[in-house]
C-alpha cells in the first residue's frame, strides 16, 4: 500500500500545521514563566507535552481515517488531533483555557474532546485503550461503519489496561487498531529499563492478533502498515497492534531539562527531524518544487496563526461557569 502524491502532500501539510502550532504554543507558553519557571503562570498554564517529532505517527495513521472513525489519544495529543481533523481554533482556545475552547476551558491540553470528528484523549496512561475497544464494540453491535484507533505511548504498554484491552478486542474480534508511539522515553526512564522486550509488536502474539513494528519514523512506512491494519479491521477481521519508532524532540513536558538524556541523542534531534526528511523526500521523489513547498508551508503556518489569534482574542470563561456541564 503506497500513498498517492495527494496523500503524501496531505501528510506533509498536517505535520507542518501541528509543528507550527506547537512552535507558537512553545513561545507563548514561556511568557510569564521566566526567569523563575512557574507552571501556573502565563497565558498557557499547566503541563505542556509537545508532540514535535512524533507527527509521522499521527498523519500516517489518520490519513486513512474518516470523520466517523474513532480516535482516542494520549496526554500528548496535538499532532493526532490535528491529523484527525479536530477544529484547530477551538482546540487552541482550549489549550489557552478560553470560553471558546472545545469544552469551554474545562479540559485543557490533555483533555481534548471533539465529538464532531470522534476524537478524544485522556491524561491517564493506558486509558485510551478501553474507550477505543468500546467504540469498536459499539460499531459492531450497531452494524455501523467505522473503526477505532487507540494511540498510546510505549510507556503505557506495561499497564494492565493495555493487556486487558488487547485481549478483549481480540476475543470479540473488534475493528480496533492499537498504535504505540515509541519515542523511547517514559518521562525520564528509557524503554530499555522499563520494557522486557525490544519491540512491543511481539506482544500481539500473546493475543493472537497481527503485530507490526515500523522503524524509522517514516510517514510512508507508517502509511503502509496502518493502511493494511485499518483495511483489515474494516473487513471485520479484527484488531491489530502497531509499534512505531518515533522521536520525542522536546522534553516530557515543557520545563523538563532532560538531564537524563544522553547528549549525543539530544545533539541528533534536529538532524532526525521527520518533517525535514519528508520535505527532502517530496522534493526528490515527487518533484515538489520550492514554490509548491512555500505554498504548503504558508498555508500550514496561516492555519496555525489563525488558531493562535482566535485563542488569544477569545474571552476567558467566568469562574462560576465551572459549575456547569458536570452532567448533560
Amino acid at each position: 500500500m503506497t500513498p498517492t502524491r495527494e496523500q503524501k502532500i496531505w501528510m506533509y501539510e498536517h505535520m507542518l500545521v501541528s509543528r507550527y502550532l506547537e512552535e507558537m504554543i512553545e513561545e507563548i507558553y514561556m511568557e510569564g514563566k521566566t526567569p523563575a519557571f512557574n507552571m501556573a503562570a502565563g497565558p498557557i498554564p499547566g503541563e505542556m507535552h509537545l508532540s514535535k517529532g512524533q507527527e509521522p505517527c499521527a498523519v500516517g495513521v489518520c490519513v486513512h481515517l474518516k470523520p466517523f472513525d474513532v480516535v482516542t489519544a494520549t496526554h500528548r495529543p496535538h499532532h493526532i488531533a490535528v491529523a484527525k481533523g479536530v477544529d484547530l481554533n477551538k482546540m487552541t482556545a482550549e489549550i489557552f483555557g478560553k470560553a471558546t475552547g472545545l469544552s469551554g476551558g474545562r479540559g485543557g491540553h490533555m483533555h481534548i474532546f471533539d465529538p464532531d470528528v470522534n476524537f478524544s484523549c485522556s491524561g491517564i496512561i493506558g486509558q485510551s485503550v478501553g474507550p477505543a475497544v468500546g467504540a469498536a464494540l459499539s460499531r459492531k453491535l450497531q452494524k455501523k461503519e467505522g473503526v477505532a484507533v487507540a494511540f498510546l505511548g510505549e510507556g503505557a504498554v506495561n499497564q494492565g489496561a493495555f493487556h486487558e484491552g488487547l485481549n478483549l478486542a481480540a476475543v470479540w474480534k473488534l475493528p480496533v487498531i492499537f498504535v504505540i508511539e515509541d519515542n523511547g522515553w517514559g518521562i525520564s526512564v528509557p524503554k530499555t529499563a522499563s520494557t522486557a522486550v525490544e519491540h512491543n509488536d511481539i506482544r500481539a502474539q500473546a493475543y493472537g492478533i497481527p503485530g507490526h513494528y515500523v522503524p524509522g519514523n517514516n510517514p510512508l512506512e507508517i502509511f503502509r502498515v496502518a493502511g493494511e491494519a485499518i483495511a483489515r479491521a474494516r473487513r471485520g477481521e479484527g484488531p491489530s497492534l502497531i509499534e512505531i519508532e518515533t522521536l520525542r524532540m522536546a522534553g516530557h513536558f515543557m520545563g523538563d531539562a532532560e538531564q537524563y538524556r544522553p547528549k549525543e541523542e539530544l545533539a541528533m534531534l534536529k538532524a532526525r527531524d521527520p518533517i525535514v526528511a519528508m520535505r527532502t523526500y517530496l522534493m526528490t521523489v515527487d518533484k515538489m518544487s520550492e514554490a509548491e513547498d512555500q505554498e504548503i508551508v504558508t498555508r500550514a503556518r496561516k492555519r496555525a496563526e489563525a488558531a493562535i489569534a482566535f485563542a488569544k482574542e477569545s474571552p476567558y470563561p467566568r469562574g462560576e461557569e465551572a459549575l456547569e456541564k458536570v452532567f448533560v
Binding site: I124, G134, F327
Partner: protein, 340 residues
C-alpha cells in the same frame, strides 16, 4: 366457586433488576449488558437472570476478568451512542478499574463541555453480614458519592430497584447502581423479607435524586439507605412500643442527594439519626448531618447521632462482624441517648 386473584406481584430486588433491564432492552436496541458471569449464569447475584436466554450473547456479553477493559469499553461505547449496563461484581473490586470509572466515565462529559453523553449504568454489589470479610463486604457509598460526575442510587426494596434501574438506563449520564447483597432475595446471602415487595409488571420509573419517607413519625427522623432503611424500620417498631414515633427516610439516591427531604423531616421532628453500613468517617452520615446543620441548626433539639460502620476493615469472624454492623438495637440506643 370464586377465585380471588391477587394483584400483588411480590418480587426480589434481583428479579426486579433483571425485569427492568429486559424491558429496556426490548424497547431500546442501544441497551446491552456486559460483565463477569452475567450471561448464562444470570449474574452471581441473580440480577441478569433470563437476559442471556432472551437476548443472546451479542447483547448480553460475558467478559473476561478485565474490569479496566470492559468498563473502559462501556465508556467508549456510550460515547458512541450505546447504553451499556455493566456489572462490577463486588464493589470491593473497584480498585483495579477506578481509572475507567472516575477519570473517564465521570469526567468525559465535563471535559467535552457537555457535548458528550456517557449513559453507562454500572451496577455493583455492596454489603456484608455473611462473613465474607473485608474484600467482599464493603459498601463504599461515600467513595462513589464523593466523586463528581456520576449519579449514585441504591435501592432498599424491589419496587425502587426496578424503577431506579429504568431511570438509570434512560438517564443520559453515568449512574452507579449499588445493590446490597442481603437485600437481593438470594437466600444464600441472607434475605431481608421486607425488601421483597409488590412490583408492577409494566415499566415505570423511580426518579433519581428523590428520597422517600417510608414511615411517618413525629419524634425523630431516622435516615438510611439500603440495609440501613430496614434497620431503621425495625428500630422504629421497637421505639413505637416505647411510645416514640419515628419517621424513616430512605435516601434511595446519594447523588443527587435529596437534602430538602431530610431537612423538612427534621424540621418537624427536631431529632436526627443517620444509619449507614459504610464506614463512619467522611461518609454519608456526616454529609447528612452537615446538610441539616448548615440549613438551620436551631431545629435540632439534641445533637444528631450516627449509626455507621466503625473505621476498621470488615472482619471475618461472626461475633466481630456482627458486633461492628449497624442494627436496630444500636439505633434505639442512639435515640435513648439523645433524650436522656
Amino acid at each position: 366457586m370464586t377465585t380471588v386473584t391477587s394483584n400483588v406481584r411480590k418480587q426480589t430486588i434481583a428479579r426486579a433488576m433483571a425485569e427492568a433491564i429486559a424491558q429496556e432492552m426490548r424497547t431500546d436496541p442501544r441497551v446491552f449488558v456486559m460483565g463477569e458471569d452475567i450471561g448464562q449464569l444470570g449474574g452471581v447475584f441473580g440480577n441478569t437472570r433470563g437476559l442471556f436466554e432472551e437476548f443472546g450473547p451479542e447483547r448480553v456479553r460475558d467478559t473476561p476478568i478485565s474490569e479496566t477493559a470492559f468498563i473502559g469499553a462501556a465508556v467508549g461505547a456510550a460515547a458512541d451512542g450505546m447504553r451499556p449496563v455493566v456489572e462490577l461484581m463486588f464493589v470491593d473490586f473497584f480498585g483495579v478499574c477506578m481509572d475507567a470509572i472516575y477519570n473517564l466515565m465521570a469526567k468525559n462529559t465535563y471535559f467535552s463541555g457537555g457535548k458528550l453523553s456517557i449513559p453507562v449504568v454500572l451496577m455493583t454489589a455492596t454489603g456484608g453480614g455473611y462473613s465474607d470479610a473485608g474484600q467482599h463486604s464493603q459498601c463504599l457509598h461515600a467513595t462513589f458519592a464523593h466523586l463528581p460526575g456520576m449519579k449514585v442510587v441504591a435501592p432498599s426494596n424491589a419496587y425502587d430497584a426496578k424503577g431506579l434501574m429504568i431511570s438509570a438506563i434512560r438517564d443520559d449520564n453515568p449512574v452507579i447502581y449499588l445493590f446490597h447483597k442481603a437485600l437481593q432475595g438470594m437466600g444464600w446471602l441472607g434475605t431481608e423479607p421486607a425488601s421483597i415487595v409488590h412490583v408492577p409488571e409494566e415499566a415505570y420509573t423511580v426518579p433519581i435524586g428523590k428520597a422517600a419517607t417510608v414511615r411517618e413519625g413525629r419524634d425523630v427522623t431516622i435516615v438510611g439507605i439500603t440495609s440501613g432503611v430496614h434497620h431503621a424500620l425495625k428500630a422504629a417498631e421497637q421505639l413505637e412500643q416505647k411510645g416514640v414515633s419515628a419517621e424513616v427516610i430512605d435516601l434511595r439516591s446519594l447523588v443527587p442527594l435529596d437534602r430538602e427531604h431530610v431537612i423538612n423531616s427534621v424540621r418537624k421532628t427536631g431529632r436526627l439519626i443517620v444509619v449507614d453500613e459504610d464506614y463512619q468517617s467522611y461518609g454519608v452520615t456526616g454529609e447528612i448531618i452537615a446538610s441539616v446543620v448548615e440549613a438551620d441548626i436551631s431545629m435540632l433539639k439534641s445533637p444528631p447521632k450516627r449509626v455507621a460502620y466503625p473505621d476498621i476493615p470488615i472482619p471475618f469472624s461472626r461475633p466481630m462482624e456482627q458486633w461492628a454492623l449497624p442494627n436496630p438495637a444500636k439505633i434505639v440506643a442512639a435515640y435513648e441517648s439523645m433524650v436522656k
